[in-house]
Each structure stands twice: as structure tokens, then as C-alpha cells.
């Protein structure tokens, strides 16, 4: 063992050495190829393929009146004069006209005048010129030139209306080193095209050879299976794996789309560039804050909704349907409609009108980030709720009934029964969700496009905003800055981070089994031996951060904090070596403190680069710590902790005792008090947010608050607080509050009264025994709080949609609704769409692309699904997992290489390129659905058909296809929707507006957030046109479509 280790260490060292020496040589080469001017007076500034830009200062010697620039190329031995530059004191000064020769005087930059002489091309510049800049053009690409500069005396003769220039004498002034002009841009293109085609061929050949070897090795009966999975795997290799490899290689090159030059292999220069600019830590921090906020919100809200639907309300299917309706709407429309609702025209929006607030996403970093998170959560809540619902419906009914019979309280039931049982199902799905959120693009792009810009995020390399995630910033570097190499470096870093989560996910989904299956005992993990090393690393990081002010590590409040935390980590790492068991709880405590401090920097210091990269070490540590089994209670903990725990416990008991005291007054009144408290809180928020100085509202708030406090002890006050609702609403009306708050408080009042009525209906003692009143009470108390809450959630998600509908029918370009139904509704917007914008063409484009891509996808996945289901070939499981993991890496990560490949193959701005791009998008999910479905068709059927002498293809056509119709339809539809709603790839690949698909067309109507003239009406009308067919499809096929969601769960079973 030790020998092996030493060997590997040696290898590592050798590789490192080679690496460094190579990069060193690279550096030397670079310095050689740099052009340095011989004398300080003249300098070659830029070298292009057909031109060189030369800059020199005019010497102060007086015995000359012109410059001669001559060229010596390696192709012709003779020196040729390129141009003469004459100094003159009487010329017209022109600043704007185009000229190859420019000069600067002490106060201005001017362009020289061209004069026509019969023997030389000549330019005239002013006497007072100080420096001259010429663009020597007309050169051959990739040839060597030497530029000579002579000081000369010359005279101009006018002869027969033509001018002749005579050289009297000249003196050598400066010559350049040998300059090699760059390869021509056509050649560059040809070069990269050839490189792409060659590498593509290489990959294809390698793939086919490997595939062939595998197929030959396997038993003869399985060979047909290889034939069937070949198209799918081939498509994945070409359109997913090859771009990934290409992207990683790109990140080591100086590829740039604006400079026409052969991309050079520049090793880690791009990464160095990324590291020395402030954008990387900012993007990282934003993404991390974004991911963690969203995941927490998603889990809480998803659980709440699923719990309410599954356990609390009647007519589950109806609620389900309403919850999913927004899912049918493409997310770009949803997000853009949220932007319409919240941001509008630079803050002039429905939202601000409703609540009287002053939200502006372009200028308020925190608010922008939080609203972006909110929109993302709302965008994906149906999906996460489905996951939870799936988990909950897997809980046996009996357990739930048992809990009810045993009178277990609701909180206990959630904590002790529901959560532990759904955990193994949910955790892999949650990690997948984390990966998805980490790489999410749509919200940050459509809603804010990275705005508001951060002042400390600006450098030469680019500009980053407060809502710029890794994905959007990569896109910005690629699409706006055209820095392909650097963007590829960003996306490689991002894929590595994603890979980190993917590994955790694979580990977790392998580790978790269904609770109902007997689990095999795992050997105790040895990973805890890594713990001291990891902690030591952290200590090192913090101490280095303290000494050097290292940007990626450390705490920015104070340098001393770095030392303190670093030394604490150091101490613990040493202690871990000796008695590890006792120290774990301390380590946990330290990690939590560390995290809290790190997070607080973000909010307290307004630092968008506040996050430490040690978060990854922390995740590892927590992962290891969670794997360590706890020892029998209390044995190993030290006395101090035990005493603390006891104290906390006794404190808990005291609190619960006093709570019980209150509880006696509160039987059946919790929800009443809850709603009342919420109402009071809303009032307070209302007063604070609007900076209300109106005494009425503060008085109303004071009364409500007083009532709330006293009502805990007196039922009479609670009764009278119903009456308080009247002055409350009156106060709102008189203080002329924005309508949103009034509606909110009215809703709360209604909820309050309903709850009150419910208490009255159950506890008759609270009210009169009048039967009529009782009957009304019962009627009023039918809706329960759960359904009210669900209703609220649904209403919130429908508000921006209603806003869109309003805009579509409103005349003009107004976006703030003034009435429920627009006054003078028109269909102008729709008419414009068809007459001026010709949106039917875009419908056609979308249809063509979606049908094409779905067709390809279904064709290749059906074959592959059949052979995955029926044959037992080598590495089948690994392939399935691999295909699924690939899916995680697609999207923004393969965008850049994909664009370049398509560019080099000449498929940019063609339908075929986009169809290919989208056809592989849903292959993993489609594969799972089809495989699952074919698994459910009895094997005997196709075996019977095979025995009858049918070849496999005919068996598939005659037996499998008719029987797996629903699965094929659903995979077709999923891919169709992906292509129909897909934005990013189509946006990048399609350039001419006649080929735009619907999402791009819709986006061009309102543009990104800083766009000056959004066409709200057209956008809204087009959105409605897009949504309606989708809604119809969804309502009819919802049961099939939702199956697509579930397929993510099955991955845990392999």
C-alpha cells in the first residue's frame, strides 16, 4: 500500500513538474512573439491579418519635412514605399472623416488629408502634430514584413494638373523587427472549421470503435440491442458529451469572437484572468445565497402545499389541477409577466400601484435578489409540491389513521411520522433540485438580467450585477463580451461545482432505500479519518486569508476574526487526531458559527463577495459528520455540555408549562389568534413600508395590537375584536391607502370572521342559542383555513397572469390596470401581431422546430428504451445513470461549445441546428418514461412474436408500438414542449428575425429589463396566443404530463 502511495505521489510530482515547465516555455514563447519597438519613438500597436497599426512621435529635429514609410516583405526582396506623410502648416483640420493616417496635436486628435500624387500615396498632417498613427493596409495575411521609417525632405510639384512628389534627401529613422501578419479571417474560420470537423470525426470514430468492441464482446443475442441504443448514444455523444469536452478545451484557449486570430492554447491564463477579477466570488456568492434561499423556501412551501392538499382539504384533484395550471404556462412568459407586474416601466408598475411601494429592480440590490428568488420559487413550486405529494402518498394510510386514533398532535405527527417516512424519497429529489437551482438561468435573465449593477463588481473584464448568477454571468461573458475562452472557463468552474453536487446526489440516492425494505448493514465508514485534514485545511485557509487578505477565503469584518477562527479550527483539527469522539459537537458548533458569520457579512456589509469557498469543505465535513453514528446517549459528551443540555431542557419545560397555562384559555382558538396576529402584523408592515405618518393608521394598529394582547386572556375582548374590524376598515379607507393593503386586510378580516364563526359553531357557549344565527354560523364556517391558504397561493400565482390579460386587451401601451376590466377593450394588439409582426410565421417556425426535435427524440428513445428494457447488455445500469447525469450538465454549460460547433459546421441560423439542439434535451427523461412503460408490457408478448419468426424491428412495430402508445405520446409531448418553450439555445443559434421561434419573438417585444421601449401590449397579446393551446393540451393530458415529473424519483431505485 505504502509503495503504491509513494508511486502515485511521484507521478503527481512528475506531472506537476512537466506542467509547470511547459507553461514556463509557453511564457518564453509568448515573450518572443511579442513585438517590441526598437526605439522608443515608434511602436507597432496592433497586428491584423491585412494591416498593421504603427504609432510614432515626431522628433524635434528640424531638417526634414516628411516621412517615408516603406515595407520590406519576405516575398519580394525590394523595398516598396507604402506612403509619404508630409508636414504642412496650412491644411484643413478634419476630425471625423475616415483616414488611414491620424495625428494628434497637443489639444486634439485629427485625421490626415489624403492628396493625390502620381508617384506616391501621400497624406498631409499639420506642422504642430506630435504623434502620428498610421494603419498600414493592403498587406498579405501571414507574411513577414519589416517596416522602415525615413525622415526625408521632399517637394511637391504641380504638373499638368497632376501632382508629383520629389524626394530630395532622406535619413533612416526607425525600423521594426520582423512582423508576421496574422492569418486571414477566412483562414481562421477555415482553420477552426477544420479543427471542429476533425475533432468531431475523431470523437465519432473513437465512440464507434469502443461501441463496436463492446458489441463484439457481448453475447450474440444482445448485438441487436447495441444497434438500437446506438442512435440515442450517438446523439448524446455528438450533442452533449462532445460539447462538454470541447467546452473544457476551450477554457484553455484564447478564443475570442471579436478578434480574428487563431485561438492559442494558453493553459491556465483564462483561469488566472477569472481569479484576479472580482466577478467570480461575486457570482459564486450570489449563486450560493440564491440557491440556499430558494431551496429552503421551496422545501417549506412545497411541504406546506403538499401537506394541505394531501391531508387537509377535500376535492384534492381540483386543487391539484389549479395548482398545476400555471405549470402549463411557459416559464419565460411567467417570469416576464412577473416583471411586468413588479417592475413595469422602470418602477411604474401594477405592483407599486397596488401597494404604494417604490420597488425598482434596477436599483435596489437586496430587493431585486429577494424578488428574483420569490419568482423562481413560484415558478417551480408545482414541481416540488408533486415530489412531496408523491412522498406523502407513499405513506401507508394505516400509519396516518393510527396516529389519529392515538391522538398524536399535528406537530408531532409531522415531525415523527411524515418527515422521517418521506425523507428517503425526498432527499435525492431535493439534491437534484439544488443542482437545478444552482444552474438556473431563466429568472435571472428574464426578470433582472443581472441588474442592479454592483460598483465593486466592475473591472476591465466585465460588469456584474447583484442578481447575476454563474449561468447568467457566463452567458454575459459569452454573448455580450464575446470572450469565449473566459466564458468557457466560467462554465467549466460551474460544471465542477455541479459535479460536486452530482456526486453527493449519486451517493445519496444509492444510500437511501425505501423505509419498508430491510436495509443491509453498512460497514462503519472510514471517511471520518479525513475530518482532521479537512479541518486543518480550513484553519490554513483562514490564517492565510488573515495574513495576505486572500479574497476567496476568510472573513471580511476584521482580520483578527480570521486568526481567531483559524486557530480554533487548528485546535480542533489537532484534538480530532487524539480523542475524536468528544470533539464532534464542538466542531459542529464552530462550523455553525463560521457559517453564521459568513452569511451575516452578505447582509450586514452588503458584500456580494462575502462567501468563503470553504463552504465546500464545510459540506464535506457535515456529510462525514452525519455519517458518524451517535454513541449511546450521554456517554461521551463532556460534563459542561451535559449540564447545558439539562438547563436548556428544564427551561423548555418551564416554557411549556407556562404555555399550557395560556393554552387552557385558548382551546379551539389558536387559528383565531393566529389570523388576528397576522392581521396586526400586516398593519404594522403597511405602516412601516409606506412610512405612514397618518395618525389614523397608527391608532388603528395600536388598538388592534392592544386587543390582540388582551384577547389571549379574555374571551370578551376577542368577541369585541370582531367589532374592531369595522374601524380598521374605515381607517384604511380614510387614510387613502393603496388598494393592495386594503384587499389584504379585508381578506384577513374575512378569515378572522370565518374562524370566529367556526368557534361559535362548535362552541355554542360563545354565542346565543338562536338557531337562525347558528345556521348562518355553520354556513359561514364551511371554508377552512387550509383551503383559504391554498386559495391565496393560487390567487397570487394568477395575479400577474390577470395583469397580462388586462394589458392584452387594453388600448395603447398601458401596463397598470386601472379597472378590473379594461375600459374600451380592443383587439388592436392581436391585429397588430398578425398584420405588422407576422407572428404566424413564428408560430410556423416554432411548430417546425418542435415537431422535428420531438420526432427525432421519440424515434431514437423508443429504440433505446426497448433495448434498455429487454436486453441485459454490459454496463446497462451505468449507461442509464450516465445518461441521467448528462442531463444535469446540459443547458448553459454546453451552450458555448454548442454554439461554436454549430458555427463551425455552418449550422448557425438554420432550423436543423436548433432541431438537433433540442432533440437531445429530453432524452434522459424520455428514456426513463419509455423504459418504464415497456417494462410494464409483459416480456412474453414480444418473445412470442420473436418465436413466430419476426425480426426485432417488426416486433417493435407490431407489438410494442401499439401497446406503448401513451408513453410515446407523452415523450413526444415533453420534447415538443421543451422545444416550443425553449429560449436559450434558439436565442443563441437563430439570428435572422424571420427564423425566430415564439419565445424569442415574445422577448423582442419587451427586451431585457433596461430596454427603453417595451411593447407591452404586443407581448401580452402574443403570450395569450401562446398560452391558450398549451392550456388546452394541459387540461386534457395533465395525468400523462405529470408522469414526467415522477421519473426523477425512479433514479433512486437503480
Amino acid at each position: 500500500m505504502r509503495k503504491v502511495k509513494r508511486k502515485t505521489a511521484l507521478y503527481c510530482l512528475a506531472i506537476l513538474f512537466i506542467f509547470f515547465s511547459l507553461s514556463f516555455f509557453q511564457g518564453i514563447n509568448d515573450s518572443l512573439s511579442l513585438v517590441s519597438a526598437q526605439s522608443e519613438e515608434a511602436e507597432v500597436i496592433e497586428i491584423h491579418d491585412r494591416s498593421i497599426i504603427l504609432n510614432w512621435t515626431i522628433p524635434s529635429i528640424q531638417n526634414f519635412n516628411s516621412f517615408r514609410i516603406s515595407l520590406l516583405s519576405n516575398q519580394s526582396e525590394e523595398e516598396s514605399t507604402w506612403t509619404m506623410i508630409l508636414l504642412n502648416n496650412t491644411i484643413e483640420v478634419s476630425t471625423n472623416s475616415f483616414s488611414l493616417v491620424n495625428y494628434s496635436t497637443s489639444d486634439a486628435l485629427n485625421s490626415a488629408q489624403k492628396i493625390h500624387t502620381s508617384n506616391f500615396t501621400s497624406y498631409v498632417i499639420e506642422n504642430t502634430a506630435e504623434t502620428v498613427q498610421t494603419e498600414i493596409n493592403g498587406l498579405e495575411p501571414s507574411t513577414n514584413y519589416t517596416v522602415n521609417l525615413y525622415l526625408s525632405n521632399s517637394s511637391l510639384f504641380v504638373d499638368n494638373e497632376s501632382q508629383v512628389l520629389f524626394l530630395l534627401n532622406e535619413e533612416f529613422y526607425w525600423n521594426s523587427t520582423i512582423i508576421e501578419t496574422k492569418i486571414s479571417s477566412e483562414d481562421t474560420f477555415e482553420y477552426s472549421r477544420r479543427a471542429t470537423v476533425l475533432s468531431l470525426l475523431f470523437i465519432v470514430v473513437i465512440f464507434i470503435v469502443i461501441f463496436y468492441i463492446f458489441a463484439r464482446k457481448d453475447v450474440p443475442f444482445n448485438r441487436i440491442a447495441y444497434l438500437f441504443i446506438f442512435p440515442a448514444l450517438f446523439a448524446l455523444v455528438l450533442l452533449e458529451i462532445y460539447p462538454i469536452i470541447y467546452g473544457v478545451i476551450l477554457s484553455f484557449t484564447s478564443y475570442n469572437l471579436t478578434r480574428g486570430e487563431i485561438p492559442k492554447f494558453n493553459w491556465l491564463q483564462n483561469y488566472a484572468n477569472v481569479a484576479e477579477n472580482p466577478q467570480l466570488p461575486i457570482a459564486f456568492t450570489t449563486t450560493l445565497v440564491w440557491t440556499s434561499l430558494i431551496i429552503i423556501a421551496k422545501i417549506l412551501l412545497g411541504f406546506l402545499i403538499a401537506y394541505l392538499i394531501h391531508f387537509k382539504v377535500k376535492r384534492k384533484k381540483l386543487w391539484y389541477l389549479f395548482l398545476y395550471l400555471p405549470w402549463a404556462i411557459p416559464s419565460y412568459i411567467k417570469i416576464l409577466s412577473w416583471r411586468t407586474f413588479i417592475q413595469g416601466n422602470a418602477g411604474d408598475s401594477f405592483f407599486n400601484m397596488l401597494f404604494g411601494t417604490n420597488v425598482n429592480l434596477v436599483s435596489q440590490p437586496y430587493i431585486a435578489l429577494i424578488i428574483a428568488c420569490f419568482v423562481e420559487v413560484w415558478d417551480s413550486i408545482p414541481l416540488i409540491a408533486t415530489l412531496f405529494l408523491g412522498g406523502m402518498s407513499s405513506i401507508p394510510r394505516e400509519l396516518n389513521d393510527l396516529a389519529e386514533i392515538d391522538q398524536i398532535g399535528e406537530g408531532t405527527r409531522i415531525r415523527k411520522i411524515i418527515v422521517p417516512l418521506i425523507k428517503p424519497i425526498i432527499i435525492p429529489a431535493i439534491i437534484l433540485e439544488i443542482i437545478k437551482t444552482f444552474g438556473s438561468f431563466n429568472v435571472a435573465f428574464f426578470l433582472t438580467k443581472g441588474y442592479p449593477i454592483l460598483s465593486y463588481g466592475t473591472s476591465e473584464a466585465g460588469v456584474i450585477g447583484a442578481t447575476d448568477l454563474f449561468s447568467t454571468f457566463t452567458f454575459y461573458m459569452f454573448y455580450h463580451k464575446r470572450e469565449v475562452g473566459i466564458a468557457a472557463a466560467y462554465s467549466t468552474i460551474m460544471s465542477l461545482l455541479t459535479l460536486f453536487f452530482v456526486l453527493i446526489w449519486i451517493k445519496m440516492s444509492r444510500g437511501t432505500q425505501s423505509t419498508y425494505q430491510p436495509t443491509t448493514r453498512k460497514p462503519p465508514s472510514r471517511t471520518k479519518k479525513f475530518l482532521p485534514v479537512l479541518v486543518g485545511l480550513q484553519a490554513l485557509g483562514y490564517i492565510i486569508a488573515g495574513i495576505f487578505g486572500f479574497r476567496y477565503f476568510g472573513i471580511h469584518y476584521n482580520i483578527h476574526l480570521n486568526y481567531i477562527i483559524g486557530s480554533l479550527y487548528f485546535l480542533i483539527s489537532i484534538l480530532l487526531f487524539f480523542h475524536s469522539e468528544k470533539i464532534y459537537s464542538w466542531l459542529k458548533l464552530l462550523i455553525i458559527i463560521d457559517l453564521v458569520i459568513s452569511v451575516s457579512q452578505f447582509f450586514a456589509l452588503q458584500m456580494w463577495f462575502a462567501f468563503n469557498w470553504n463552504i465546500f469543505i464545510v459540506i464535506f465535513e457535515l456529510f462525514i459528520l452525519s455519517g458518524i453514528k451517535k454513541n449511546p446517549a450521554g456517554q461521551t459528551e463532556n460534563s459542561f455540555l451535559r449540564v447545558m443540555k439539562k438547563k436548556i431542557q428544564s427551561f423548555k419545560f418551564k416554557i411549556s408549562d407556562s404555555l399550557k397555562l395560556i393554552d387552557r384559555h385558548l382551546v379551539d382558538l389558536q387559528s383565531l389568534h393566529g389570523v388576528f396576529s397576522l392581521q396586526t402584523l400586516t398593519l404594522l408592515l403597511f405602516n412601516i413600508i409606506l412610512k405612514n405618518k397618518n395618525w389614523i393608521m397608527w391608532t388603528v394598529f395600536a388598538i388592534s395590537f392592544a386587543c390582540l394582547v388582551i384577547s389571549f386572556f379574555s374571551k370578551i375582548i376577542l368577541k369585541t375584536s370582531v367589532i374592531i374590524q369595522i374601524p380598521l376598515l374605515l381607517g384604511l379607507v380614510f387614510s387613502a391607502s393603496p388598494i393592495g393593503w386594503t384587499i389584504g386586510l379585508v381578506i384577513f378580516s374575512i378569515a378572522f370572521i370565518i374562524n370566529y364563526a367556526k368557534v361559535g359553531a362548535t362552541q355554542n357557549a360563545l354565542l346565543t342559542k338562536n338557531t337562525f344565527v347558528n345556521r348562518i354560523l355553520r354556513l359561514v364556517s364551511i371554508p377552512n383555513n387550509s383551503s383559504l391558504l391554498l386559495l391565496l397561493i393560487i390567487i397570487i400565482s394568477f395575479i400577474p397572469i390577470w395583469n397580462i390579460v388586462w394589458i392584452a386587451f387594453a388600448p395603447g401601451n398601458q401596463i397598470v390596470p386601472t379597472s378590473f376590466i379594461p375600459t374600451n377593450p380592443t383587439l388592436d394588439n392581436f391585429r397588430f401581431l398578425f398584420t405588422q409582426e407576422e407572428i404566424h410565421l413564428n408560430f410556423g417556425n416554432s411548430l417546425l422546430i418542435a415537431l422535428g426535435s420531438a420526432g427525432i427524440c421519440v424515434l431514437i428513445t423508443t429504440l433505446a428504451g426497448y433495448s434498455f428494457s429487454r436486453f441485459n447488455f454490459t454496463a446497462k445500469k451505468e449507461l442509464m445513470v450516465g445518461v441521467f447525469v448528462l442531463k444535469i450538465f446540459t443547458g448553459i454549460l454546453t451552450l458555448i461549445p454548442f454554439y461554436l460547433i454549430m458555427f463551425n459546421l455552418g449550422l448557425i441560423d438554420t432550423y436543423i441546428g436548433v432541431i438537433l439542439a433540442y432533440s437531445t434535451h429530453t432524452i434522459p427523461i424520455a428514456l426513463w418514461i419509455i423504459k418504464g412503460y415497456i417494462d410494464s408490457i409483459p416480456r412474453e408478448l414480444d418473445e412470442a412474436s420473436q418465436i413466430m419468426g419476426n425480426p426485432t424491428l417488426r416486433t417493435i412495430r407490431k407489438i410494442i408500438l401499439p401497446l406503448s402508445g401513451p408513453a410515446i405520446a407523452i415523450t413526444f409531448l415533453l420534447n415538443f414542449l421543451a422545444a416550443w418553450n425553449g429560449f436559450l439555445l434558439a436565442f443563441v443559434l437563430l439570428q435572422s428575425s424571420s427564423k425566430y421561434t415564439l419565445p424569442i419573438k415574445l422577448f423582442t417585444f419587451i427586451g431585457s429589463i433596461e430596454a427603453s421601449t417595451p411593447e407591452w401590449g404586443l407581448f401580452a397579446a402574443a403570450s395569450i396566443l401562446v398560452i391558450i393551446p398549451l392550456l388546452i393540451i394541459f387540461v386534457f393530458l395533465r395525468n400523462y404530463l405529470l408522469k414526467g415529473f415522477d421519473s426523477t424519483k425512479e433514479i433512486g431505485e437503480i
Binding site: 453475447v219 450474440p220 443475442f221 444482445n222 441487436i224 409483459p938 412474453e940 408478448l941 418473445e943 412470442a944 412474436s945 420473436q946 418465436i947 413466430m948 419468426g949 419476426n950 425480426p951 426485432t952 417488426r954 407490431k958 407489438i959 401499439p962 401497446l963
Partner: protein, 372 residues
């Protein structure tokens, strides 16, 4: 067509489902592969059919190596245990389908049979199997027996060289099963094609098979006619598996020319059996006898020299119609005893039984039959 299996092994990860089987299935025979569930009999059948590729070994039809040929090129017929019919086709379409599948030509294939020919053949088969009134029904509208009949008809129509049956009757209720058994037997007589029939039900095997191959844990225990297997088992497993009741065994030790029970008591055995044991030098083993051949000891009659007398205790009695099934206890092991006497047996009574030496089988301690 004669089927020959040479050293067939099929391995699933760790487990060998079929372990090095050599077997010859004669032309025109009705061979039954019998075995408990999980013994590898279906695996063996699927290897013959070409649905599974053996880990090692070869399959020959007559003298042609068929191992690498897939099922669709072997011209065989197979009836499965369940899900035999295509659910999206009617009965008639189901029967037509195989004929439509038969094609000629190498590159440009065309159907061998015209539509009229197919219709005529389908008519004949429907008539033969009495399925005329069901022709337009879908499989889900048929009973289990009817479904299997259609399945058989579908295979018959193709005139294959070999018929394979994979427990075709196990999903059919008991009354119909008998009827279907007759059907299959009649069919075999009519067509005279080599038939391989897999079942775990020994009565089915006995009733149908001209040759039975008994398989256990992937290995063939014994091949032979039904009578051979019953009357002349070559090992303990066959003796135990074949028969309405598992064979009774009494372990013995042989020393100094005498036979002893495990507890050292001497067993009085007929001389011919003692001779066999002594010549074969078996020191340890079992004496086996079938429950049907046990007689109750009648104290009035003297014990024959050809008989063995065993004293037992009644542990349990069970009465099924006219039959008494009595569980006896002798030393530590149980013996089954079946009788049709009208006498009442009581628990814990002592009972002595006698067995004639003709019905006694001796097995050595490895489970192999010891005989002349």
C-alpha cells in the same frame, strides 16, 4: 426434430441457473422437463427456444448448431405461462399474425402466404379448436382456458418443427386444466412434432410425457419414462419428488454384516437387501419406501422373511375422503402411511408397519440408489 444439448450452462451473476446439462430429446417425443420452482427448467427451455444465450455450451437441432441463431430463425413454437396473446389484436388477428410474419426472400421480402390461404388456414384452426364464436373477441374477453387454446392454435398454424410449452396450464383453474391436458395430448398425436413441455406439476408430467427429465438446482437428476422415474428412481431426490407422497426414509448404519438404526438397534432386513448393501460396501445410508406400499402389521400373521417390520407411534392422522394419511414417528423421523381401511386411528397409539422388500429402495449417504 432431434434436439441435443451439449454442456449447457447459464449463469446469472453468482447463481448457476443451468449447470452443465447434457441432454438428448428424441425426434417426435413428448419430453417433459420437471422440477421444483427455481430449478432452472424454464431457463433451459428458453435456451432451447433461443430467447436466452447460454453462458457456455451448444444447442443442436438434428446436427445443426443453433446456438448463435436467435429465436426468430429457429422455426419453433412456444406457448407461455401467461400473457400469451397480443392484447391489441382480436382472436382472429392473433391467429393470423404468425402467418403474416412468414416471409420469403433475402433482400426484398414478401409474404409466403396469400390472404386467401391465410384465411382458409385460420378457418381450419378455429374449427379445430372450437373457437369460431370467439373470433372477433379481444383476449381480455376470453377465459384463461380459451386464451391458452388460442395461443396453442396460433402456434399450430405455423407448422413449426418443435413445440415448446412453458407451464401453459399453471394459470388455469383445476377443472379446465384436465381438459386442456387432453387437448395437448391429442394435438401431439395429431402433429407428431418434437415437444418440450416444462412443468412443476408431476401429475401433468406423468400424464403427458413420454420422457421426463427431472431437474433440480440446474442439474438433471434423472431422465426416463414416467414409470422408470416412479418405480426405479436412481437417487433420493427423484424418489422424494415423484409420487403423491414423498418417499419415507429411515437412516441406517451398516457394520459387522448387520444393519442398525441410528440409535444402535438392529434392523431385521431380508437377505437380498443385506447382500446388496454388503457387496456395495455402504456403511451409512437410508432405506426408502413409498407410503402407498406400507401395510399395517397384522399380529395374527407371522412376519414374512421378505418383509421389514418397524414399530412406530402415530403422531397425527388426517382423513381425506376414503383415505387415511397417517403421520408416524419412528425415532426422530416422520413416516407417511396411506391406507384405505375403515379402521379408526388414534393419536399417540403405537402402530407397527411392514414393507415388502420389493418395494424397498436403498440409498447411500450421498443420496444415490444402491442396487444390483
Amino acid at each position: 426434430m432431434r434436439i441435443e444439448l451439449k454442456k449447457i450452462t447459464k449463469q446469472y451473476e453468482e447463481k448457476k441457473a443451468v449447470d452443465n446439462i447434457d441432454m438428448v430429446i428424441p425426434d417426435g417425443s413428448f419430453t417433459v422437463i420437471l422440477g421444483p420452482s427455481g430449478s432452472g427448467k424454464t431457463t433451459l427451455l428458453r435456451v432451447i427456444a433461443g430467447l436466452l444465450y447460454p453462458t457456455s455450451g451448444k444447442v443442436f437441432f438434428e446436427k445443426k448448431d443453433m446456438t448463435d441463431l436467435q429465436a426468430n430463425k429457429r422455426n419453433i413454437a412456444m406457448v407461455f405461462q401467461k400473457y400469451t396473446l397480443f392484447p391489441h389484436m382480436t382472436v382472429e388477428e392473433n391467429i393470423r399474425f404468425p402467418l403474416e410474419s412468414i416471409k420469403e426472400g433475402r433482400l426484398f421480402k414478401s409474404r409466403t402466404f396469400t390472404d386467401e390461404e391465410i384465411s382458409k388456414k385460420v378457418e381450419d384452426i378455429l374449427k379445430l379448436l372450437h373457437l369460431e364464436e370467439h373470433r372477433n373477441k379481444y383476449p381480455s374477453q376470453l377465459s384463461g382456458g380459451e386464451q391458452q387454446r388460442v395461443a396453442i392454435g396460433r402456434e399450430v398454424i405455423r407448422e413449426p418443427v418443435i413445440f415448446l410449452f412453458d407451464e401453459p396450464l399453471s394459470n388455469i383453474d383445476a377443472r379446465l386444466r384436465y381438459e386442456m391436458r387432453t387437448w395437448i395430448r391429442r394435438l401431439h398425436k395429431l402433429l407428431k412434432k418434437t415437444t418440450v413441455y416444462v412443468t412443476h406439476d408431476q401429475s401433468e408430467a406423468m400424464a403427458l410425457g413420454s420422457l421426463i427429465a427431472l431437474i433440480n438446482e440446474g442439474k438433471i437428476e434423472q431422465i426416463g419414462s414416467p414409470d422408470e422415474l416412479y418405480y426405479n428412481p436412481i437417487n433420493k431426490f427423484t424418489a422424494q419428488f415423484i409420487g403423491n407422497f414423498p418417499m419415507n426414509f429411515i437412516p441406517f448404519k451398516f457394520k459387522d454384516g448387520g444393519l442398525y438404526y441410528n440409535n444402535g438397534e438392529k434392523i431385521e432386513v431380508p437377505k437380498n437387501i443385506l447382500d446388496i448393501i454388503s457387496t456395495r460396501k455402504v456403511t451409512k445410508g437410508d432405506i426408502g419406501f413409498r407410503a402407498e406400499y406400507i401395510r399395517e402389521y397384522d399380529p395374527k400373521k407371522p412376519v414374512d422373511k421378505e418383509m421389514i417390520l418397524i414399530d412406530c407411534k402415530i403422531e397425527d392422522t388426517e382423513k381425506v375422503l376414503d383415505q387415511h394419511i397417517i403421520t408416524l414417528k419412528h425415532l426422530n423421523h416422520q413416516l407417511f402411511f396411506v391406507t384405505k381401511t375403515k379402521k379408526e386411528f388414534k393419536k399417540k397409539e403405537a402402530l407397527s408397519i411392514v414393507i415388502h422388500s420389493d418395494h424397498i429402495y436403498v440409498f447411500d449417504n450421498k443420496g444415490k440408489r444402491v442396487q444390483n
